[in-house]
């Protein structure tokens, strides 16, 4: 098949695939294959380095286009010039011809004018001669003249004829020239046509060439691009293949993995399934049994219920009878109820009035009570102040008295007796507290609480002041803390809100303060009392740690006891104070001892004696002074008397 039919392939340069002849189709296919392999070979040969040239190729093609454009433009303009040259030449010829024509015309006109002039002259001569000839009488002369005239005329005519001939000649020549010109113009037109055709042909050729050039450049470029792209495509394809292979392997691996995993899961699943199944079956059996039981109970219940239903029905009948009876009774009762209600409302109204009256009374009474209380408070305060003032005054007085007594004692001792004075060992300036200053002790209650809470060991003081209440500090602390936690309701809500940002210690302290005020505890002793009470509250049981739940009842009991105890306690306070202060007062009174008093008495007696002596002496002294004075006065009188010049007369006159 291969070389058997070279004929058809040679004959038709391009064997068609659509040809009817199978041999030709085969040849066409073979050609195509050969072309492909050829292209591939060429591509492989011209492969390297072509990628770099792509850019340059692009530029080259554009340059090619530009070059072609320029060349074609030049060709066109050249061709146009070549063709238009003929037109220009024709124009030149035409203008030359016209100028020549004009010139010839001008010459002809000139010539004709000259001719006209000449002929005119000749004609005038002829006409002039006619006049002379008319005068001629001699026939010969006349004939001669006529002959000359004829000659002249004929010459004129001849001139004209020659002119006409010339003109004819010119006409003929110009006709000839016209024909020649026509011929030449026809030739020129033909030439123009030929040139145009040539130009067209050459231009077509040039266009084709340039087109081919451009096409080839573009083809080259395209092949370059194609090759480059093909190469890249293949590279990418290869990469893609590799990737896909990898992916496939990975997939296989994972598939196996997943397969095994699946198998495992399946086995596990079946096992689980079996277990569950067994379990469920057992439960099902159990439930079936239960169901049976339930059924039995259900039947039983049903029977019971039926029985009870019958019972109920019977009861229902009875109850309906009873109901009707009761209804009647209800109606009756309703009537009585209404009556009673009426009464009730009446009474209520009355009671309301009474109540209002009573409440009015009550309000008045309470108002009075309040007023009384206020007055009482006022009076008590005033009394207290009075008392205090009186106290202070007495105190001051007594202090002054004591001081004075001591001073006197000292003076007596030092000056009169000449003994060393020793002050008494009891302090004179001891300050006696008034009974009303109790805030000091109240604050000390809080202080004590603070100290206890701080855990500072003031155990001794606590025990000391506790009056035998042996409560250790630790217990105190725990009791106070518990009190703080359990009796929180005694603290005002606002206060707790305000306390939130403070420290634990302070918060507790402030809480305790408010609790103490609420309970009415003001004194340190009372705190201790409370603590003791609380620790010993569950009186029947052994004194263990106090249960937080018992705090409230304990407190209630405590407050109740205190309330009952408070009234006498308040009254006793005033009475007990003087008792407490009596030794002090006695002390003050005994500041001068009995021995000293005896001394003083003895001294008094002696001094009284000394006093009387001294009084005597002073009386005597005064008498002496008076005598001395009388003496001096007398002496002076004497002296005056003696010394005066005019003794006689003046003496008599002065006497």
């Amino acid at each position: 098949m291969s070389g058997t039919e070279p004929g058809p392939t040679d004959e038709s340069a391009f064997p068609s695939l659509e040809s009817g002849d199978p041999a030709e189709r085969i040849a066409a296919r073979r050609n195509r294959r050969a072309a492909r392999t050829e292209a591939k070979r060429r591509q492989e040969q011209g492969d390297p380095g072509e990628n770099l040239e792509v850019q340059a190729e692009v530029r080259r093609s554009l340059k090619q286009v530009e070059l072609s454009k320029q060349r074609l433009l030049k060709l066109q303009t050249d061709g146009l010039e070549l063709v238009s040259n003929i037109q220009v030449a024709g124009d030149t010829f035409e203008s030359q011809r016209r100028s020549e024509l004009r010139e010839a015309c001008r010459l002809r006109l000139q010539k004709m004018e000259e001719e006209v002039k000449a002929s005119q002259e000749k004609f005038e001569e002829v006409s002039r001669r006619w006049r002379t000839t008319a005068e001629l009488q001699i026939p010969q002369e006349l004939s001669h003249a006529v002959n000359t005239q004829i000659e002249l005329c004929s010459s004129i005519v001849q001139d004209k004829n020659t002119l006409i001939n010339e003109l004819h000649q010119e006409l003929k020549s110009s006709d000839e020239r016209y024909v020649k010109d026509r011929k030449r113009q026809a030739e020129m037109v033909e030439l123009m046509v030929v040139r145009m055709e040539e130009q067209i042909k050459s231009l077509i050729k040039a266009y084709r060439e340039e087109l081919q050039e451009i096409e080839s450049s573009f083809d080259e470029e395209q092949t370059c691009l194609l090759e480059g792209n093909l190469r890249r495509w293949e590279e990418l394809l290869k990469g893609q293949h590799d990737k896909e292979l990898e992916a496939a392997q990975e997939r296989m691996r994972r598939k196996e993995e997943f397969g095994s995993l699946l198998q495992r899961h399946r086995v596990e699943g079946t096992e689980q399934f079996n277990d569950v199944k067994e379990q469920l079956e057992t439960t099902m059996q159990g439930q079936q049994q239960q169901l049976e039981q339930n059924k039995a109970t259900f039947q039983l219940n049903q029977e019971k219920l039926e029985y009870s239903l019958q019972q109920l029905k019977r009861q229902d009948k009875e109850s309906s009878v009873i109901k009707s009876q009761q209804k009647r009774q209800i109606i009756r009762l309703q009537d009585t109820l209404n009556k009673l209600k009426m009464e009730c409302t009446n009474q209520e109204k009355e009671k309301q009035k009474v109540k209002q009256m009573l409440s009015e009374n009550y309000r008045q009474v309470t108002q009075q009570v309040r007023d009384r209380q206020r007055k009482m408070r006022h009076f008590s305060a005033v009394d207290a102040r009075h008392y205090e003032e009186v106290w202070r005054m007495n105190e001051k007085e007594i202090h002054a008295l004591v001081g004075r007594a001591l001073d006197l004692d000292r003076i007596i001792h030092q000056q009169l007796l000449g003994l060393d004075w020793t002050p008494p060992d009891t302090p004179i300036t001891q300050h006696v507290e008034p009974i009303t200053s109790r805030s000091h002790t109240a604050s000390s209650a809080l202080q004590m609480a603070a100290l206890v809470l701080k855990g500072e060991g003031r155990e001794s003081a606590a025990l000391e002041t506790g009056g035998g209440g042996g409560v250790p500090v630790k217990t105190m602390k725990s009791v106070l803390e518990m009190l703080c936690d359990e009796a929180g309701f005694l603290v005002e809500r606002k206060l707790s809100a305000l306390l939130a940002p403070l420290e634990e210690e302070e918060r507790r302290l402030v809480k305790l303060n408010s609790i103490f005020t609420a309970l009415g505890i003001e004194h340190e002793d009372e705190v201790l009392q409370l603590a003791e009470f609380l620790t010993k509250f569950p009186e029947a049981e052994d004194p263990g740690p106090l249960h937080p739940g018992d705090v409230l009842p304990a407190l209630r009991v405590f407050t109740a006891r205190r309330r009952s105890a408070r009234v006498p306690a308040g009254r006793d306070a005033a009475a007990t104070v003087p008792q407490r202060h009596a030794p002090c007062w006695e002390n003050m009174a005994d500041i001068i001892s009995q021995s000293k008093l005896a001394t003083w008495n003895a001294l008094e007696k002696a001094l009284l004696k000394y006093h009387s002596v001294l009084q005597e002496r002073s009386r005597l002294l005064a008498e002496t002074r008076k005598v001395q004075q009388q003496n001096t006065e007398l002496r002076m009188l004497l002296h005056q008397y003696t010394d005066s010049k005019v003794n006689a007369e003046p003496a008599f006159s002065s006497k």
Binding site: A89, T92, E94, S95
Partner: protein, 455 residues
């Protein structure tokens, strides 16, 4: 339509009415079992038959608008080009049909010059042939007027290359100048006038171009001067017709022996024409007075191009045109080729160009201009920046004139074309001028790089 239904109906009825059923018995049958090659495919569809019928009777019953588009295309494909125009003219707009008509009538045609419209081509050429073969007093004017309603929407350009004169008695044929006799004799010789455009132009609502040549084509040895006579009355009627045609843009009357008087008459009618933009009066015998009239027209119209190629305008006429040009702002192209303007006219034109800022193209070939014009034009070169192309061939500008032109060109950067063939200018000057022109052209090209140069 449903094809199956078609077939069914075909089988029910005889396919072609009028045929004797007995003539082809087989067509009466729904199935032809004994013929193995018979198939339904050979039976023509009813639609096809109907369409065929429509085509056959199109002249009497033109059905087209009511057909489905594909059927219409089929009908149009099959319509013969010989259908009467009054049927087809305003009905068929399909280009293929008109192409068929054109090809049938004139063979190979170039449709590109007709705006790629075969219909326009057909009607223009048809009307042209009617007018060209119109013989006054013999042909009935209705032959032309009948065409008007058919073709007025399609005709944009009329290129009349000949206008036949009326047939005259042999005794009337005289060698005298026809103009005077015609105007003198008046009614005695009514037959000297050509086709009267007055009856046609105002009816063609889309006419834009009119090309006229009052003459006879191919008269050969039967040449007589009066065959090429553009009579005064022709001129008058043409002028009025032109005035009535408000859409006209291009008018060309060439090779018609238009002289000063006729030119003036035409111009009086063309003054203040609303749309005329191009006037071509080449190959006539217009002199200075006609040129003055044209100068007047220049500033009283929207003329963009004036062509008076091959006339007899001299210096005075050129001066008048130049003075009009110096004030004009519309004219782009002026062709004074092959006149006798001379140096007087050339210098006037140069002076006008110093003032004018619109003219782009100027043709002054073969005008007997010499060196003074060249020196005047050199000033133009150095000052005018709108002029793109100037042609000065066939003028004896001489070596000195060439030098002054060269000097002027050295200061120019806008002129793209300057034709100086056969002007007796030295070769060096030509070379340097050509170089400058090339430089200018390149600069322009560079400036318009985005769009390819369309030179």
């Amino acid at each position: 339509m449903n094809v199956a239904m078609d077939r069914l109906t075909v089988r029910m009825d005889p396919p072609v009415p009028g045929k004797i059923p007995a003539a082809d018995v087989r067509k009466m049958r729904r199935l032809v079992a004994e013929d193995p090659e018979w198939s339904l495919e050979v039976v023509p569809l009813l639609t096809h038959l109907c369409l065929q019928h429509i085509v056959q009777n199109f002249a009497e019953n033109p059905l087209l608008d009511r057909l489905l588009p594909r059927h219409r295309a089929r009908v149009l494909e099959k319509l013969p080009p010989s259908l009467p125009l009054h049927v087809t003219a305003n009905l068929i707009s399909e280009e293929r049909y008109w192409k068929k008509c054109c090809m049938e009538r004139w063979g190979l045609c170039d449709v590109t010059t007709y705006g790629d419209s075969w219909k326009r081509m057909f009607f223009e050429r048809h009307l042209e042939s009617i007018i060209e073969l119109f013989i006054p007093d013999v042909t009935d004017p209705t032959t032309v007027l009948d065409m008007v309603p058919l073709c007025k929407n399609y005709v944009k350009r009329l290129k009349i290359s000949q206008l036949l004169p009326p047939i005259r008695e042999p005794r009337d044929i005289e060698e005298e100048d026809g103009v005077d006799t015609a105007s003198d004799m008046g009614d005695d010789l009514p037959s000297i006038d050509h086709f009267d455009f007055g009856i046609l132009l105002d009816k063609l609502a889309r006419l834009e171009e009119l090309h006229l040549a009052y003459g006879v084509k191919g008269c050969g040895m039967n040449f007589e001067w009066n065959l090429f006579e553009f009579s005064f009355r022709d001129c008058e009627s043409l002028g009025k017709a032109l005035k009535s045609c408000r859409t006209l843009k291009v008018l060309r009357i060439h090779q018609s022996r238009v002289d000063d008087e006729r030119c003036r008459l035409l111009v009086t009618h063309l003054l203040d024409h609303p749309s005329l933009s191009e006037l071509n009066l080449s190959h006539n015998v217009i002199g200075d007075r006609g040129a003055r009239a044209l100068a007047k027209l220049l500033n009283r119209s929207q003329l963009k191009a004036l062509n008076v190629y091959d006339n007899q305008i001299r210096g005075h006429g050129a001066k008048a045109l130049a003075s009009a040009l110096s004030k004009n702002t519309t004219l782009l192209s002026l062709n004074l080729c092959l006149n006798c303007v001379g140096d007087e006219g050339g210098q006037a034109a140069a002076r006008a160009l110093l003032k004018n800022g619109t003219l782009v193209t100027l043709h002054l070939e073969a005008n007997y201009m010499t060196e003074p014009t060249a020196s005047a034009l050199s000033r133009v070169f150095s000052q005018n920046t709108t002029l793109r192309s100037i042609k000065l061939c066939c003028n004896r500008l001489g070596v000195d004139g060439g030098k002054s032109l060269e000097e002027g060109m050295s200061r120019n950067s806008t002129l793209l074309e300057c034709d100086l063939r056969l002007t007796e200018i030295a070769q060096e000057s030509l070379c340097s001028i050509g170089q400058i022109l090339r430089g200018n052209r390149k600069r322009l090209q560079r400036r318009q790089t985005p769009e390819p140069s369309s030179e």
